[in-house]
Every structure is written in structure tokens, then in C-alpha cells.
Symmetry: D2
Subunit: 338 residues, 4 copies
């Protein structure tokens, strides 16, 4: 439910609404707009009589039911786009952000060479995995804290903010010390304790869609983060699992366009995981932007054939540089800029 306050309603009137909510074990989530204040009501059980009850409160203009199971992330609650600020890089709005970097941080040489090259080509953030989720317990799982330090070093030199994955609640503090954006991987999209923990940091969170998560489930997972008072969620479509085997996943650009309509959060796309083949990354990167994505996240590596993970879907630095002018051209065709 949404409580829309009248223009010029007082803090006291708002408090009075919040107190009544508290009596029902509900919480009010404040959205301060230019003209008026809106209160999103969240909690396990909203009494059916509450709507009418609150409409009689002084200062309340109207109350509206939200028809979606998610509340705080819904466009019904907040029609204007949320813009997530990552050390000055704004995600959402007119800008089309490009995040690039290797699947895994492998060495100082590798991450520094990549960071310099992608910044040169026009990327605005650096990605790289220090903790890697792997299907098999016997494969390379990343450099851990050493990888985080190398990422921080790359940021210091290039100025690019860092996006890196956190896999478990025990690592949230550690990763948060180095990263600018905490990435939640597809396998963890419904790891609710982890979602709440990154929610509590207040830091920007990049939430990948699960392999077989519906759009509704994806938005509900974002709701877990925002329900902790952290509105800085960036959604990321990265391909879903279907019957098709010629590509690693099936990029679902319907989901990008639909999510942009249903939520005010920024939505980006990952054509590297979405296709699994480096030569499909450029066309799908452009398609993502044309579908309305607020940005793309791309795997790039100085020597993809020798990458320790995901080499087959990584662009070489040369191919990444060739892609960027095309990205800029398609963004411009939509009235956006990189």
C-alpha cells in the first residue's frame, strides 16, 4: 500500500501515520518527491481495513493498493527513475554505463593492463572476480583478498570504480572494504541472508538475475535489499537457462524492457554470460542498449585464450575497443550517451 501525503503535509502528520503503522507491525518507507511525500507500507500482513483508516488521517491525500508483490522497487510507488551513484558514475537516467574487465583477477599485470585498456576505450567501471562461484570444487576459485587488493590498485591508478562479487555473508565486510559495487551472482539471487546483509551495508548492489528466475522473483530479491533501507540496487540480466544449447544461456531482453517498466531501479545487461561466445557479445551488447538497458557489463581480457575462466566469452582488448564506438552510436540513436 502507498500513502500519498498532501502537498505541504507536516512532519508531525507523517509521524502520526508511521506510528499507526508500527501498531500493526508494519513499516513506512519514505519517498520524498519534489512536491509531496509518499509512504510505502511494508510488512507481513496489512489489515484490510487499514486503507480506509489512514485516509481519515490529517495530511493524507489518498492511499493506493500496490498490485505487485514487490513494493519498494515498484514503479507504482516511485514513478521516476532511481539513479545509483557509484563514486560519481551515475547508473540510470540518460547515461549508458559500460562496465568491463576480466572474469577473474589473475595477476597484477593482467588486471592493470585490462583496466588501462578499458578506460582508454571509454568504459566507466571495472569488473573482476576475486571470489568465484564454480560448479566443481576442484577448479580455480579466485585469488580472494589478494584479488581485491589488485582491484583497488587498478582503481587507484585509473579512477574506475570497482564491481566485484561477494558470495557469502562472512565475506561482506571484507569485500565492502575494497569494492564500490557489491555484485550478487546469479546462483545467489535467492540467498536471502546474503541479500539482507548487502542491503545493510547501504552500498550499491549489482543483482544478477538467477538462471531460471522469473522477472517477478528477481524484483522480489531486489526488494529484500531495499527492505533493509538500501535503495542502491542495479538489476542485471545475464541470460536464462532454456533448451537451446548452441549458446550458453538465452539473453532475455524482454526482461530488460519489462523490468524497466515495472521498477524504478536501473537495469543493465551482461552479454558475455548471456551468450557465452565472444563473437556474439558485440551484437547482443548493442541489442541490450537498444532494448533500453541502462548499461552493459562485459568480460574483457588481454589474452582470452589463456584466461583461467570464461575465456571463450571474453572479448580481447582490441575487440572491446572496436565495440565502444558502436555502443556510443546506438546509445546516441536512443538519445543517450556513454
Amino acid at each position: 500500500m502507498i500513502v500519498v501525503m498532501q502537498t505541504g503535509s507536516t512532519q508531525e502528520q507523517i509521524e502520526s501515520v508511521l506510528e499507526r503503522l508500527a501498531e500493526y507491525d508494519l513499516r513506512g518507507h519514505m519517498v520524498y518527491g519534489a512536491e509531496r511525500t509518499v509512504i510505502g507500507v511494508v510488512g507481513a500482513a496489512i489489515p484490510p481495513t487499514l486503507k480506509e483508516e489512514l485516509e481519515h488521517f490529517t495530511g493524507v491525500k489518498e492511499t493506493l493498493r500496490i498490485t505487485q508483490p514487490y513494493k519498494l522497487v515498484s514503479r507504482e510507488l516511485r514513478p521516476m527513475d532511481t539513479i545509483v551513484d557509484v563514486r560519481g558514475v551515475k547508473v540510470g537516467g540518460e547515461r549508458c554505463v559500460v562496465i568491463a574487465g576480466p572474469c577473474s583477477v589473475e595477476s597484477e599485470e593482467q588486471i592493470m593492463a585490462t583496466a588501462r585498456a578499458v578506460r582508454e576505450a571509454g568504459a566507466s567501471m571495472l569488473r573482476g572476480g576475486a571470489f568465484k562461484p564454480r560448479s566443481s570444487p576442484y577448479t580455480f576459485r579466485g585469488l580472494g583478498e589478494q584479488g581485491l587488493k589488485l582491484l583497488a590498485q587498478a582503481r587507484d591508478e585509473t579512477g574506475l570504480p570497482i564491481v566485484t562479487e561477494v558470495m557469502t555473508i562472512n565475506d561482506v565486510d571484507l569485500v565492502a572494504r575494497y569494492a564500490d559495487v557489491l555484485q550478487i551472482g546469479a546462483r545467489n539471487m535467492q540467498n536471502y541472508q546474503l541479500l539482507e546483509e548487502v542491503g545493510r551495508t547501504g552500498m550499491p548492489v549489482l543483482l544478477k538475475r538467477g538462471l531460471s528466475a522469473t522477472i517477478e522473483e528477481w524484483l522480489l530479491s531486489a526488494e529484500y535489499v531495499t527492505a533493509q533501507g538500501n535503495p542502491n540496487v542495479i538489476l542485471c540480466e545475464r541470460g536464462i537457462r532454456t533448451f537451446e544449447t548452441a549458446t550458453r544461456n538465452t539473453m532475455d531482453l524482454n526482461a530488460v524492457a519489462l523490468a524497466k517498466r515495472r521498477t524504478h531501479l536501473p537495469v543493465i545487461a551482461d552479454p558475455s554470460h548471456g551468450t557465452g561466445k565472444w563473437y556474439l557479445v558485440p551484437p547482443l551488447a548493442l541489442a541490450s542498449i537498444a532494448a533500453g538497458a541502462d548499461g552493459i557489463i562485459i568480460e574483457a581480457h588481454p589474452d582470452p585464450d589463456r584466461a583461467r575462466s570464461d575465456g571463450g566469452q571474453s572479448l580481447s582488448l582490441e575487440n572491446f575497443a572496436k565495440l565502444m564506438p558502436q555502443v556510443a552510436a546506438v546509445a546516441a540513436a536512443l538519445g543517450k550517451h556513454v
Copy 2:
């Protein structure tokens, strides 16, 4: 297998290769290039010794194995793009073709109004169903021949070539008398007799991908048409069936990009069926073009709310007109034109 003839090889030398193929119950499919002639070898069982055998023939430069199960539609056989000519409208190449029209032809007024409006907005062909496949035997199945006549009338007035579906071998002659492009629907993608029958007409064929067909199966179905000596196949991605229920289908733009790489045939996309929601059609239309599609096919209707089928996914004529400049802008960003 492909037999590459030497530059300047004689007709007699070619015949001699074809005769040897015939002895093995194989056929040779001729591809005449600017510099040299290539023979595609097709048939149920190619003897393992044939490759070496033919390399000793006079006039043969080399022989190559094709690694894909499809032969004639493969880029390995024919690296250059096939361009399908539909009454002067060229599908494939630098042009991005836009086909628009209602799901079903419903009345003279409806089809004429639509044809005029979409031509005005810049469409280059008219779509419309006279024979409609329907899950239930109790729903509207189209106007039949009367619908075909109305389509022909619309073409006479507007000059737009006509794309319409043929559902059964018994109707191929009838539909071919009126249509410029014979459409094979998703449900019929593996109706092999129908594929062969439309193959025999030599007319342009628009082959929709089946709901759960792999890219390989789709190309093999195109092979059924081309194996009848008809190279005029336009592939059409129209969304696949996945677990996601928020959209009618999942538009698979990976498939567009991959098909463009694997086959020389033109590939277009249908965001109306691919999304099932009119408000997702514009972003996915643009995304299709950015992914490299040679065109789009879009459902448009003068009054979508009263359409006898697929109203929810049809653009109004106003919304179609608004989309066209965006289509042109994205096409231009890729160096193409509408």
C-alpha cells in the same frame, strides 16, 4: 561436402563431377561465384572415400567437408549474404526491411486502412493472415480465400508486397496465387511435406522458428526448402517457449546473431509474437535490429482492442508510426537503412 572448382573450369569438368555424384545417389548443388564455381554435395550417405576421389578430377581445386548437418544454407558453402528479392524489395544486405500489418485480415476497411497507414509510415511489405492456426477448434480461423483477395487488393492500391501464412499442402497453390511471400508458421516448422511443397514453388518463403526448435533444427528446416532448389528463404525468430510467464514468449536475439553467422540466408525478427505485449514491441524491435536482424515483422491494427486475434500484442497505427523513426535511427547507427 563442398567441391571448389578451379578458376576457369569448364562445363564439361563440372558435368563430370556431377555424374560421379549421381553414381553415388548424391546431388550437386551449384553455387556460381564471381571468380569460381562451387558444388555443394547433398544426399543421404556420402562415401568416406569420395573426398579424395574428387580431388583427382581435372578442374577441381579442392574439396572441403562441411561440419554442420545443414549444407545448402551454410555459410561454409556460401560466405556471401543471400538477398531475397520480393517484387523489388530486397531482404538481406544493407537494407532493414519492415513488414507490418494485422494478425488476421478481418475486413476490407481494416486491411486497407492498415496498408495505407503502414506504407505512409515507411513499411516496405504488408502482413496479414487469411488462414490462422488456432489452438482451439472453436475460435476464428481467418477469412480464407476472401482474406487473400483483400490482401491482393491492398497490394494493388499500395504497392506493398504481401506476406501471408500457408498452413497445409492443399492450400499452397491457392495461397501462391495471391501472396508474394509464403509464411510457414512456428507450429509448422517441422511439417516437412509442407516445407518441400513451398520449396517447389520457388517463391520467397518466410520460415518462422518453432516454439522450442533449436537453431540447428531451424536451419535444417530451411534446408528442406532449399533442397528443392528454392534459395529464397527468409528466417524469422519469433520468440521461444521458456519458463518465464510475464511475457508470451522469450525473444531469442542470440539466435538472430548466431543464425546470421551460420547461414547466408536473411534473418528477421518478430517482436509482436516474441513479447506478446504491445508496449514491449518497440524496445524489442530496436533490439532486433541492433542484434543484426535484416528486418522486423510487426503486428499493427487500426483498433487493437477490437482485433479478432492477438490484439494485446498489436501496435496501434499511431504507435507504429512513432516507432519508425527510431527504427531508422538504430539502423543508421549500424550503417543500414530502412
Copy 3:
């Protein structure tokens, strides 16, 4: 809609209902029960006022809306099981029918050896393909009429009724001259002209579920057959297409149990196509029966390693013979018999 006549209603009263239906371009489908007669109303558009209108007719007990889009195949219309009689073999009811034979008829020796062995082991019908749908135009497509003749010869010797596929409307007459059950393959589940054509023969039809058909679409395809006045439809679950690649398809036994609940038609299962691996056929055959299937259809071959199609999923005749006592034991545990 269903019109339930009163016990003892006259033929004249029934005619009077049918006449009114005809005025609205509707048809009445008669279901004669032990106690009373029921009329299923089918047609494109049932006027909203018809229900009340018919309730005033003399002899009418009540009228009920059918909530499913399928009518004639619905258990709401006919609560008791339909039993399809195939030359004396009853499909549906207490018996658990076993249909066995090769994927393709390959030679007299092969089909006769198989027919004798499966009859010996306890099978009650013989399957075998004379016309084979194949993804590629370059692979073996069956022996055609010669295959049908060999099947008929096997029936003459063993007494086993014949199940074989018909792929196109042009072949219905030919196949109907030899076969006892006309099989509609998965790829043709929504080939509506073919469904209507086999409907018109009045012969038993085995309708396979499409690779990605929902249960509702499957029942609607059965409705296409029954709407032609042919109630002799046997449904067959044969595995659906999912993300899993370790098996050829995913056997959906939920669908068997749910279809048994929603329709009065018999439902059998095909674990050969449902798994694609011969060693998974026995456990899934038993599981199908335990899930409530009215029978199973199994590929068996004298020499699976040399089969011209589907060898990897065919049981050897020895393994088929070993399976039969287990089938009988599970059927007995459910109060049925083979």
C-alpha cells in the same frame, strides 16, 4: 456448455435442443449414459443468454458451463473413462496395454522377428514407422508403403494390431488401409488439418504430445480430432524439451496424472523417446504405469546397435522380455493387469 437432459427425456425433446443450437451455428455432441443423456455444446461463439434459454426447455434438467477451453475431451462432460477398442484390444480401464516394436520398419526379417518376440513376451500391439519425420532432409525417412505392407504381414502372422505414424493429409487414406491405430507424431501435434483428417476416418488415433506443448494445448489438439465425431483418441506423453541435456527429453509424468484427471481419454507413455537412453527405459516404463498411465509404447529392436534410427533408445528383444514381468508386477500393485 453441457446440457443435462432429465431421466426419461424423449428423442423429440433432444431434437428440439439440437435445433435451437443449430440456429446459433452450434453443434450438439451426444453422450448417452446409462441413466441420462448429456449434450455437449460446441461452436465458435456461445451466446451468453443460451444457458438460461435452454434451461426452460422441456426435458432439460440443467445446463452447466465447462470451464476448460476443451469440451468434448473434458471429464466435466464425461466423467467415466473412454475405452478405445483396437481390434479387440481395449485401451483404457483396468488393462495396462504394452505396445512395442522398432522405431522404423527396416526389413521383413527385422519386423517379423520383433513382432514374434514382443508378442511372446506379452505385448498387445506392434509399433513401427513406415513414414519417419526427420530433422534433416538427408537421412532415412522410412520404407513408405512397403513398410506398411510388412507391418500388415506381421499383424497377419501374430495377430498384434498395428500402430504407425501418418505425417501428412495426403497419406491418411494410404496409411488407414494398413494401420489399426493412426499415430500423430509430436511435431504434428498442432498440424490442425491433419488432426481433422484423421478425425474424419473414425479410426483410433494415438496423439503424441508436442515437444513443448502445454497439457492444455495437447487436450485442445485432441479436441480437434473428437470435434470431427471421432472419440477414439489415445493420448501419449513422450517427454518434453527442457534445459536438461543428459537425457534426450524430460519425461513428464505429472502430465500423465493430470491428463487422467482432466480428460476421459486414455493416456499412455513413451519412455523410449521420453528418455532417449535404453537403460532408462525400464525404470521409466514402470514409473509411467505407477503414475496411472493406461499403457506404454516402447521401442524394441533385434539389434539396436545397427538400427537405422533411434538405436540408442531401443531395448534389445532380451531386455524387453526381462521388462515385461516387472511391468506386470507394478500393474498388479495398482490393481491392473497387462
Copy 4:
């Protein structure tokens, strides 16, 4: 790789193999058979020369490569069935175990009534959720430790061992204090830290298959647990996500049969989540056993219509009692007992 020692090999000879493995950063996992000892070699990188190297060691009979990416759970390493002992209830082998209970523990009255009734009917373990994963942050998430205490109380009275879910590494110690089997839910199948943490407890672990996990990924997740030295893993198929919407999930009994072939671990099935409809639970429970499952886990509730979660898929206690004799009959048909 597997190192097979000779009959009568000495502890010293074994140590010498293990030392060499350690030099390569590999570990040896011991499997002591009746006649001889086998060493499973696990680690990130097995040098290609190791196989030959070890074959020259005294006491080594032969070395074999394992072709699957999972090692410890593979039948190639250990051909005989693993039997997991849960307080005397043996899972795997000739017994077909039935685990029953409510989705969530809701109250003392509810869990005690259920525990008594399912034991009475013949169940051998009690299930019940104290920590519930929920898509929405605003729904009931279980009673927490209070729920665990009620489960322990039910065990004390009925003697039934307890199966309950643990969702996060922080709760493993707490849940392990009360539970007999730690359940890992479908959403956490690839929560690798959690898998390792439950692995370290040494306790029986019930590992549900992820909604869209391949069979290989499922076995690799089991490998994460066993790689911690904990062989007590029970696999549980609970339905996969497909295009079908008439059922909540699609029960994949192919996976049960294939997993039984590929791994020595016991495999059970969950027809409650696998179907999502209480009336489909009995047929699919029987089908699971017929497919070779070592048991079933079923949701049962004293008053399904008032359950706080999953009521629609819960059997009433009466229906559960009716199902048990059928389960026993099908198990008997396969030579097993409940």
C-alpha cells in the same frame, strides 16, 4: 583418477601413494572395500604423468581415469550403494524410506498431531521447516529455533528422526544441535560455502536439486559436501522449472533413474514440490518409487487449507494414510520394502 591397491597391500604402501599425491597438492580419498582398498584422487590439477607414475608404486594394482567431473560421488569410484544411517533408519539399499510432515512447523499441536499420524501410517522420518526460504521478504519465514525445539519434542515422543532445512552458514551449528538430517533447499544447491559447512559437520545431508540445475551440477554440488570428508549425502529430486504452467514444477524422474546409475549416493523424490498439487502427489509418489527412488519426502498437514505455507500441495493426514499401503505395494513389486 582412482588408484586401485592390490589385495593385501600394506598401510605403508598406501601412505607412500598419499605422500606422492600431497607433493602435487592432491588429496587421496580412501574407500575401503571388502577385498581391497581404493584411493580416489582429488584436487585442482592432476598432472598428466601421474597415472603412469603411480602404477609403478609397490602395492598398486592399477590406476583408472574417472571420466565425470565429479569424483567422490561417482559410481566409477565406488560401485556399491552408499547407505546413509539416520539414527538407525537406513537410506539406500532395499528399504524405501518415507519422510513426511508439514512444510512449516506452525505450533506444538500441529507438529505433534502430524508426527503421531505419519508414524502411525508407517513413515520413518519427520520433516518440517523452522527456517523457510520465501521469495518475498514480507511472508512467514518460519518459527526459527522455537520450531527446532518443537521438532525435537516430536522426535522425543515418536522416535522419528528429524529432517529440517538450514539456509545459511550462520545457522548450521544451531540447526545441527536439533536436526538429524540437514536439508539444503533447491535455492541453495549452489551456495558452495553452505555446502562445505554442512559437509564439515559430518551429519547426514539431504541435498535438493536446484530448480534449473542439470544432473551433473547436482552431483557436483554433492561433491562439495563429500569433498569435506562427509559421505552422508542423500540426493532429492523435487521438480524442475519448465514451460508447463499447469503444475508448479515438472517432476524429473529421468533424473532419479540416471542419478542412481551415475552415483552411489541414495536418491529420493519430493512429489509435493514436484507437482504443487496435492491430488497429484499419490500418483507421482508411486511413480518415483517405481523409477528406483530410495524413498520419498511428502508434505502432510492436519488441515492443509489452513497451512501457513504450501497448503495446496500438502496431503491431509487421512490421504497420507491412504497412500501408504499403495507405496508398500509398489515397493514390494520392485523387491523392496517400506
